[in-house]
Amino acid sequence: MIASQLRSMWLVFRHLFSRNATVEYPDEKPYLAPRYRGRIVLTRDPDGDERCVACNLCAVACPPDCISLQKTEDEDGRWRPEYFRINFSRCIMCGLCEDACPTYAIQLTPDFEMCEYDRQNMVYEKEDLLISGPGKYHDYSFYRVAGMSISGKDKGEAVNEAEPVDVRSLNL
């Protein structure tokens, strides 16, 4: 019994000489890896177009149901969210939306400093979420691999696609 207490005291004492894990936040900011799960952004593809195709997968994956969006289709044939809203006052930063997203559009960032006096300010719309770069995934562009044609990418021009079939030919 006494031995165990002495051992505990020794362990505690030893920690006096180990490195500090805590820092003097906010004067000093700790390093957060790029994969840290903080404030959510919507990214753009390498060509600078909105990545989000309004597929709704993030919304359905979200455990507190704090993502809401509506699909619309642009003149250029792309699907886009007409609005895209995240209620950060509900978000639990679980990252499931990012996991679900088939286009790498939605990404969590290392920014966790989201304090507001008014909860209403925690509701972010697409304009607030959209950043100008591709985030963590630099090269991926969904429409380059998808089969839908959009302006500037006709049928058969996506990655791994053959020329469109001419039904009137013999197709041997």
């Binding site: 149901d65 704090c66 699909k71 509900r90 691999v145 089969g147 049928k155 696609e161």
Partner: protein, 960 residues
């Protein structure tokens, strides 16, 4: 019943069924693509492979296709055996080599049979490194989107479109793995059932274009069982709604088929599927409107047109309550005008408020007479009203002047299946199971006889009819009368007296047919007579009744007779009136004869566009004679211009109520979502008015006081059942608001519904309590029982692993059977009465040189509500006068010419359209058009052509 063993467990299965259907009936999961419960098997996709063992000693077994193999008593099978799983996985992997990377931008995603089957087969990763074949898409019209890359060549689309629905403009083009499913060139899919491709295609090749414009995933759609409001067939539907962009209101996103074996099975028509958009129309009324005092300046509005402004509902209700009190004191007369396009509940509430003597049907006397004639025929014990499967079972069919493909489209689709009964009989003889679709269709055998007599060629019957004759309505009536006489005459010449010599002699073409039709009908085992109100000619109905009765007498069994009603609740509305009562003309006459001492009249107009019922002048004069007009409606329709007070009424998917279809079935539709603004069911406005303090004088003994007892829709339903004896089975249409399953309500939303803490967050981040629903067995949220399999109230067809509508087999009593928990649909309980001697009325005959004007119908264009849907509105043809080619030639009418027609009391000028699709001596006038709603009100009539305006010949060389 054969007993089979699957993976070591024994099951009893239906005799003669295939293994795939048996497995699904047993609740086992076996992937498939090309098999369809209504269309049978062709064995094209090889996805449903299972292992069949010779006997219990056979350890290896052989691979068979489940959909192509009949169950064998004592058979031993395995779904789980490794070779079968591997085979199915390989098939999917092969299909997916060409599949585009589209799921996120594919409208099918989340309810995609291909996704489900891929999951089920365990295929997850594309190993194939070759190129994907691609296709260009086609423009297929305003209903359907085409994305051919996604095709897996299961052939379901063409099998439905061509083989099942008789279309010929969609086909499998090209060859080998490049086969293409589309039209020869861009253009609208012509079939009126094209929308079913959306549900039949297991992938996202064909998707709903109207839905895509406001797309959400299936899991986000809130739904409840509903009934299609676009014709009298009463197909069951599952409308889906979702919060709109504003986060305040919900709107309707789409309508899909809801399986009900007796009314529509797996399919609905395009009017029913794409007509829903009226509910989102800009013309929706969302607030209470009151007429402004100031006069409309003559140049901007029509005479007596009123401008409106919004007022708060309590003020409007107080006004209505005052009017009601005044009427109780005899200082005002309240007149109610009902409607065939809204529920019994709304109609009954109005009738109860104003009293039966002041309640009018909102139909012309002619329309009511038609309905009463129809009702009378249906009451005869010799007449039986067939369900859709019974129609599909008929072996000889007679269609009398009803354009069934346009007035009751789903019935026309059933007729197509009936045409193949000879083939099926042949297959039975050869012991070929009926689900062997390709084999059965190979069998020789003439179509079952379908005889069509019509004044204008009906849609989509030509290719299956044994004989189609175009003749004037009068000729068709006398044909039918002589036919009835001949049917009863054979063997019993004594019973024929009085039905013969007086009738008009038939044109030769009909005379020759008479014998053949009579003989064929007499030799039929399950004859079916089809007619309806479409000809707007009571004599046609009466004559159809005579034929059916004669057949029944000869066969000693009731004769199946399907008579169409024009609107979703026409037959229900007619039950409130005795013969000869309740027409709008009668109301007009009463108002005309009003003395100056009589109290002023307030018209309460229920969801009805009177300009479709009567000539415009009569409608104006009706409104002129009323001191005040109060309108309850969902849309700003023409009558709203004359209304002093307008209350916003709910559309069918926004309300609960009962509709009576042409077969007399009582069907309840439930509220799918709450209408926006102040929208509520019309009967609730009336109840609110009676409960207003300004109405406190209405004594408890007054009939209007009954309204005070109504809180929930089921209360009104029960009151109707108590008050009108033919509706006594109404409460059986569905449970009341206290219905619970294990203490819980049924959830309208799926368990995956998303965004509930974000949908409204932009205008209020603090969540509000979810909407409660005290009026129905449903909850508005995902709280409650999900996917209750054992009740037909479940409208979201989903089951674990089955996200697409193919999950329906989990809700049926065996594949193709009735829904689980579905009781027989209650029907009107009418007093049986024999068909009276319905001798053709002596109508003012047609004078020589006169033409008979008959109504013609459009699938897209004749439906009142669907005309307000964007996709459909663009398809309606304009008003015209259709004339037979020979007649046009004789008259010297040139293409592009116009006809001026004179009837008794009216003259109209219409552009002429010349074709062979209309009988000689007859002029077809389109009815129900939004552009010319009252054309139908003048029909049928005799008219002479006063003037022909041929287009000015353009002089050669003349410059413009």
């Amino acid at each position: 019943m054969p007993t089979i063993t699957i993976d070591g467990r024994q099951y009893e299965v239906e005799e003669g069924q295939n293994l795939l259907a048996s497995c699904l009936s047993l609740g086992l999961n076996l992937p498939y693509f090309c098999w369809h419960p209504a269309m049978g098997s062709v064995g094209a996709c090889r996805q449903c492979a299972i292992i069949e063992y010779k006997d219990s000693d056979d350890a290896q077994g052989k691979l068979v296709m489940g959909c192509m193999t009949q169950v064998r008593d004592g058979g031993i099978y395995s779904l789980d055996a490794e070779p079968a799983r591997e085979f199915r996985g390989a098939v999917i992997e092969d299909l997916m080599t060409n599949h585009p990377h589209d799921c996120p931008v594919c409208e099918e995603g989340g309810e995609c049979h291909l996704q489900d089957m891929t999951e089920m087969s365990g295929h997850t990763y594309r190993r194939f490194r070759g190129l994907k074949r691609t296709h260009r898409n086609q423009y297929l019209g305003p209903f359907i989107n085409h994305e051919m890359n996604r095709c897996i060549a299961c052939y379901r689309c063409v099998r439905f479109y061509r083989d099942y629905a008789g279309g010929d403009d969609l086909e499998a083009l090209g060859r080998n793995n490049q086969v293409y499913f589309g039209r020869q060139c861009d253009g609208k899919l012509e079939s009126g059932f094209s929308g079913n491709l959306v549900e039949v295609c297991p992938t996202g090749v064909f998707t709903d274009q109207t839905f895509s414009r406001h797309f959400v995933r299936k899991w986000d759609l809130q739904t409840a069982p509903s009934v299609c409001e676009h014709c009298g067939v009463g197909c069951n539907t599952a409308p889906g709604a979702r919060m709109d962009f504003s986060g305040r209101d919900e709107n309707l996103r789409r309508v899909v088929n809801l399986y009900n074996r007796d009314t529509n099975g797996y399919f609905i028509c395009d009017r029913g599927r794409f007509g829903y958009e009226y509910a989102n129309s800009d013309l929706r009324i969302k607030n209470v409107l009151i007429a402004r005092r100031e006069q409309v300046i003559e140049s901007t509005g029509r005479r007596n047109d009123k401008l409106h402004r919004e007022i708060e509902p309590p003020a409007a209700l107080e006004h209505l309550a005052t009017v009601i009190t005044d009427s109780q004191r005899g200082r005002r007369r309240l007149v109610g005008i009902g409607s065939p396009r809204t529920s019994l509940e709304n109609n009954f509430a109005l009738r109860q408020l104003v009293g039966p003597g002041n309640f009018f049907a909102g139909l012309s006397a002619r329309d009511l007479e038609l309905l009463h004639t129809l009702d009378h025929i249906q009451r005869d014990p010799r007449i039986s009203i067939p369900t859709i499967p019974e129609i599909e079972d008929a072996d000889v069919i007679l269609v009398l002047d009803e354009d069934i493909g346009r007035t009751a489209p789903r019935v026309a689709l059933a007729l197509r299946q009936a045409a193949r009964n000879n083939q099926r009989d042949h297959a039975r003889q050869l012991e070929i199971p009926l689900w062997q679709d390709a084999c059965v269709r190979q069998l020789r055998g003439e179509n079952n006889p379908i005889f069509v007599l019509a004044s204008s060629a009906p849609a989509s019957l030509e290719d299956i009819a044994r004989a189609q004759r175009l003749a004037s309505p009068a000729a068709i009536v006398s044909f039918a009368e002589q036919l009835a006489a001949r049917i009863s005459a054979t063997d019993q010449p004594t019973t024929t007296d009085g039905v013969d010599s007086s009738s008009t002699p038939l044109p030769d073409a009909l005379e020759h047919l008479l014998e053949e039709v009579a003989e064929t009908l007499l030799s039929a085992r399950r004859p079916l007579v089809i007619s309806g109100c479409g000809s707007q000619e009571p004599d046609i109905l009466a004559a159809a009744g005579q034929v059916a009765a004669a057949l029944a007498d000869r066969h000693g069994a009731p004769c199946a007779t399907y008579l169409t009603c024009p609107e979703t609740n026409s037959l229900g509305l007619a039950q409130f009136f005795g013969p000869g009562e309740g027409g709008l003309e009668q109301l007009l006459e009463e108002l005309r004869q009003r003395d100056s001492v009589d109290p002023p009249v307030t018209l309460l107009l229920l969801e009805n566009d009177l300009y479709r019922r009567l000539p415009a002048a009569d409608v104006e004069s009706l409104f002129d004679r009323a001191a005040e007009v109060v309108l309850f409606d969902s849309l700003l329709q023409p009558c709203s211009r004359r209304a002093d007070l307008v209350f916003p009424a709910s559309a069918t998917p926004e309300s609960q109520g009962t509709l009576v279809n042409s077969s007399g079935m009582l069907q309840r539709h439930y509220m799918v979502y709450e209408g926006s603004g102040y929208i509520q069911e019309s009967w609730r406005w009336l109840v609110d008015a009676v409960n207003d303090p300004a109405c406190s004088d209405v004594g408890m003994d007054s009939p209007a006081a009954l309204l005070r007892q109504w809180k929930h829709c089921h209360d009104v339903t029960a009151a109707i059942a108590a008050a009108v004896s033919c509706f006594r089975d109404l409460p059986e249409t569905g449970p009341d608001e206290n219905f619970r399953i294990e203490g819980m309500k049924l959830a309208r939303q799926s368990h995956r519904a998303s965004g509930r803490t974000a949908n409204r967050a932009h205008w209020q981040v603090a969540e509000q309590a979810p909407l409660t629903d005290p009026d129905s067995p449903f909850s508005f949220t995902m709280e409650g029982v999900q996917y209750a399999g054992a009740t037909p109230l479940q409208a979201n067809i989903w089951s674990p692993g089955w996200n697409s509508n193919q999950a329906i087999h989990k809700f049926q009593q065996g594949v193709g059977g009735p829904r689980r928990g579905r009781e027989p649909i209650p029907r009107l309980r009418r007093e049986p009465t024999a068909i009276p001697v319905l001798l053709a009325k002596q109508r003012a005959g047609q004078k020589p040189g006169q033409f008979c004007l008959v109504p013609t119908w459009q699938l897209f264009g004749s439906g009142e509500l669907s005309n307000y849907s964007d996709a459909i509105a663009g398809l309606a043809d304009g008003p015209c006068a259709q004339l037979n080619t020979a007649d046009a030639g004789a008259l010297g009418l040139e293409p592009g010419g116009r006809l001026q027609l004179r009837m008794s009391g009216a003259e109209i000028t219409l552009p002429a359209s010349v074709s062979d699709r209309i009988a000689p001596g007859v002029i077809g006038i389109p009815v129900g058009l939004r552009a010319a709603p009252d054309l139908g009100a003048m029909l049928p009539a005799a008219a002479e052509i006063v003037r022909i305006e041929n287009p000015e010949p353009v002089e050669p060389g003349e410059s413009l």
